[in-house]
Symmetry: C3
Subunit: 430 residues, 3 copies
């Protein structure tokens, strides 16, 4: 598909293909901190190689599927994390996929995959949609923050999914992400135990016809054992995200490291529908963070924290193409232009407009010493997407964002900010 | 072979192939330090992306062979080393192969390769066996420690090997590994001169028939010039290994940095035999470390250190397949299942059981101030290997280990440990 | 070309190819600092994996070209930079190419590419020549220093080039290199704004015949906005290079961080000619660095700095082949041997000898407190190149260098050095 080069044995039972994608972003911010107490005071305009992947995908003996994909890009074009002993990039470069998936077992009139390794988990509707096919340059913050608890990128996991044309069921046990320190005796940086958690998702496509479809789903995620810092014994969890654009990788809303975390749960709902070239989609996530770990560290007896957020978006393909439904991931695919752009043939590709409103609230128990004032971010995004052909896309995004944030749970000093931003993504994928 | 995708010119004189492997490990330790003085006090259970390689292999004008293979995995899924200015992973990610090999010269009724670059050196029988084909998840400690002196992974080397069906001879000059600092004026981390050494191996297959074979060999390795720290003038050598499982990359036995090292030599013997589906294999290595470098640093006049270790292992393929001998590397290959696993055809793949006992003694001159109390590690491993098809293998290992170690050469305080561990490897390779 | 494996759709409008190169260097220095005040006092002999690239190149719908190429090699085989939070390697590993180029627009009787992403910019004649085809192991220092101001490797850029058989015109806006910190609020290491600049090049091939050609060109480069350190507000620029061999990545000439830089300009001329197997080539670059940035930091009122340097080289292919001209980059290509080396056919490949003299002067305003005593480097290089076949080349270089340098602009203490060096490159490319 999409001109992906593939070599198979004569019986088509064994195939190896090469896959790659480049997402290169250029843009600028007009960022306005509300006060001198706001952090950051500045965002960095310029460029970023958001994704730069090379990978190999294989099928063996018909039923065994494999992928090994590395991402050389990242929020700062770079590698690793920001701790001592690591490189810039905010943890956004690394082994994207390294898994084995078995699809030979086909029970209950459907298809089934049993799989393990380093995987992109099809958890949340937005994440189940390929980054090559999403309507906006970045997914909405509520979903990103939800995934990162126990399901985000570069995640070790093992589990199964079953689907037919109407229903999709999946469940996975998840572990740490690649690049984590696995040495329990490391001191710089401190070693930690490995986290584990689980996710399940149920989604369906109950109504569909020639020209329309409806998608609904529900998501649940459990952080069962947070990683424990083996030097300080701390168990923490941080919820945060960038402002739906990553040319500067700085986050505007963040809970900071929530102390003494014993576990967390995230529950969500997803819905979407298409009618010809029109697509509408929304998700909402509720977070609960328990703080009763037996670490001997404060806070003691603090009640659970609750956060929530979601988004609603709509897109319209001006040239009439539509987003097709993909039952294997329970999500919508991208646009294949009827008339790819060509000066010779006169084709102009496909053009799409889209809008989104997104909110994430990381404030809870404000006014109490054990409260969290992570901020409430609201972002409005307008998008123009040009699908040149099946492999090339340009995306133009305009964002207006508002972060309402106070200095701490017990200080009402305003440390919020507002911003406008414009950015262009150049995308190549196969 | 093994469904490796290869593109050749029409005359078959120029070919490029893609190669890849994933080894993903999941497991847990029951680790029991003998006393509170033992280090480490804990090992980290969980998962590790042990190997994640993508590479390109080529043949040009018939006689010139090339490989460039990168390993994105590692003992902590990560990059680089643990020193400041590097990333987690313990030096186990990096350029695995980047070499040119010429095979057009064919003297004395055999085949010959003259080669240089970054190479896996076929030194020791265990190392000459591909990591896709070894019977256990990790090679035995004695061989790993022997290789790391001047022949281990990511090694720069130049040399030659000659072989026919009965005999294999090889010799290489070796240098530093990839990722070493090459700047003599670097201060953080300190620059060092580049080490050089040499290895030779002689191996043969004197007896072989339809259904049986015998392999014998001898190995020698010289660390001729250890790297010299150009800030402190120190010349050190550290011998250590993980406990034959790397989910936690911590080493249990280690000499620490042996001071004032002027050179080191390792000598070993190897033997193996097959009889139908049965394979037996063993190696033993003797180490000698000289401490007479003119660094102006202590110890002065210390005598040479002597260590030794080895292993014996046996495997039996329940389904009847056998490990074939590969004359080009003088080692045994993997199992190709007669009936690959398939629900459709009813095949169950190949099943193998194996056991190994391994010991490495890093104690010498105990009781003297210049002695080394690196510890004596004994590990018993039982394995069950399922060869699903020619590309997919699952390995289940149970280990029981005992590390006898005292606090220092002059303190008999017990800092040893015992452990049991269970681990599962998911392997994909082509 | 050159046995590069390529898979196309049946209509040849969509193609994906794999590309790779290994440059592995081994060599030694006889380095002689003039005094004990010289830095460095030592250079490190040994080996270095100079380039180790794997990449994918694609064409989509006829007119859209893409490349994603990663370099795993580098001046210390490693990754990243030398600052805290980065890895050894001096910034010479990274995403080499990640761009999209459109070639469907063909105005004025020529060809045209409109392109953006991470690119090798065809700026200077030496840089426009592939590293697989350059006559010496390293390009001359004057060109390297010129490119690094705003056009060197791993560069983000967007622009256009137009060419026909006689003329080449190109202009690009350039940004930071990959791996830069993009977070304005980063403190360790300090965040910085992103630099931007521009380059233009005009080159032509006014005289050409069956057996001869003449190339002339002019180059200009502007650093319009240097990166601003957002912690200290400093805007600096460093001009430096290694001594035309990178086994030890240490630089011998360097301006250090020139303070308060508001901008810089580089202007150059290039000329070359071939007559049968003979090739002659030279370039000269003039640098101007303005120091009037409004950083509030010294120096205040310092006048602009002026540096200059260039090289002249000549090569002769003993076996009669010639370097063909490539109009798309306005530079000369490599040698394709008439009789590739083969013991079977008796071919000996192509053999070439070459010599170069190169000088770079980084001294200006000597005797003034605001002057720069970066040193004046003169290097003579003799080369013997063996082109084994279209994919394999060996290069043997002998260098004699002399660095005249004083301790500072106001101290005439001699901190210069002299060196001789011999090095061998093993090169594989397709």
């Amino acid at each position: 598909p999409n001109n992906r080069p593939t070599i198979c044995t004569a019986d088509e039972q064994n195939c190896i293909a090469i896959t790659s994608r480049i997402h290169w972003d250029v843009g600028g911010y007009d960022y306005r901190p509300n006060t001198a107490g706001t952090s950051p005071q500045k965002l960095d305009s310029g460029e970023n190689l958001r994704r730069a992947r090379i990978g190999v995908i294989g099928k063996f003996f018909g039923d065994w599927n494999y992928a090994l994909i590395y991402d050389f890009g990242g929020s700062s074009d770079g590698f690793g994390g920001t701790a001592a002993g690591s490189l810039p990039g905010g943890g956004t470069s690394g082994v994207e996929n390294a898994y084995l998936s078995y699809t030979g077992f086909k029970p209950f009139g459907g298809k089934m995959a049993i799989e393990g390794g380093i995987m992109d988990l099809p958890w949340t509707l937005d994440e189940s949609t390929s980054s090559n096919d999403i309507l906006f340059m970045e997914r909405a913050s509520a979903g990103i923050i939800a995934q990162n608890v126990a399901a985000g990128d570069f995640r070790s996991a093992a589990g199964t999914r079953w689907w037919n044309d109407q229903l999709w069921l999946g469940g996975y046990v998840t572990g740490p992400t690649t690049g984590q320190i696995h040495s329990a005796s490391s001191v710089t940086p401190p070693g930690s135990s490995e986290q584990y958690g689980a996710v399940v998702r149920v989604a369906g496509n109950p109504i569909s016809g020639n020209n329309y479809s409806v998608h609904i789903g529900a998501d649940a995620e459990w952080l069962i054992q947070p990683p424990r810092n083996l030097v300080t014994q701390a168990q923490t969890l941080t919820l945060s995200d960038r402002p739906e654009l990553r040319i500067d990788p700085t986050t505007l809303i963040s809970t900071g490291a929530i102390a003494n975390v014993s576990g967390a749960q995230v529950y969500g709902v997803e819905a979407a529908a298409t009618y010809g070239p029109l697509i509408a989609q929304g998700e909402y996530y509720w977070f609960n963070v328990d703080r009763t770990a037996n670490t001997g560290l404060p806070p003691f007896g603090a009640s659970s924290l609750k956060f929530d957020g979601g988004y609603a978006q709509v897109g319209y393909v001006l040239t009439g193409e539509n987003h097709a439904y993909n039952p294997a991931t329970a999500s919508y695919g991208g646009i294949k232009p009827h008339d790819p752009f060509s000066l010779a043939s006169g084709g102009w590709g496909a053009w799409e407009i889209a809008g989104r409103v997104s909110q994430m609230n990381l404030n809870d128990q404000i006014g109490q010493a054990v409260g969290i004032a992570g901020g409430r971010q609201t972002v409005y995004t307008a998008a123009l997407n040009w699908y040149v052909n099946n492999n090339v896309r340009f995306m133009l995004n305009y964002l207006h964002g508002d972060v309402a944030k106070q200095a701490s749970a017990t200080s009402t000093a305003d440390v919020g900010s507002k911003f406008d931003a414009v950015a262009l993504r150049t995308q190549v994928a196969f």
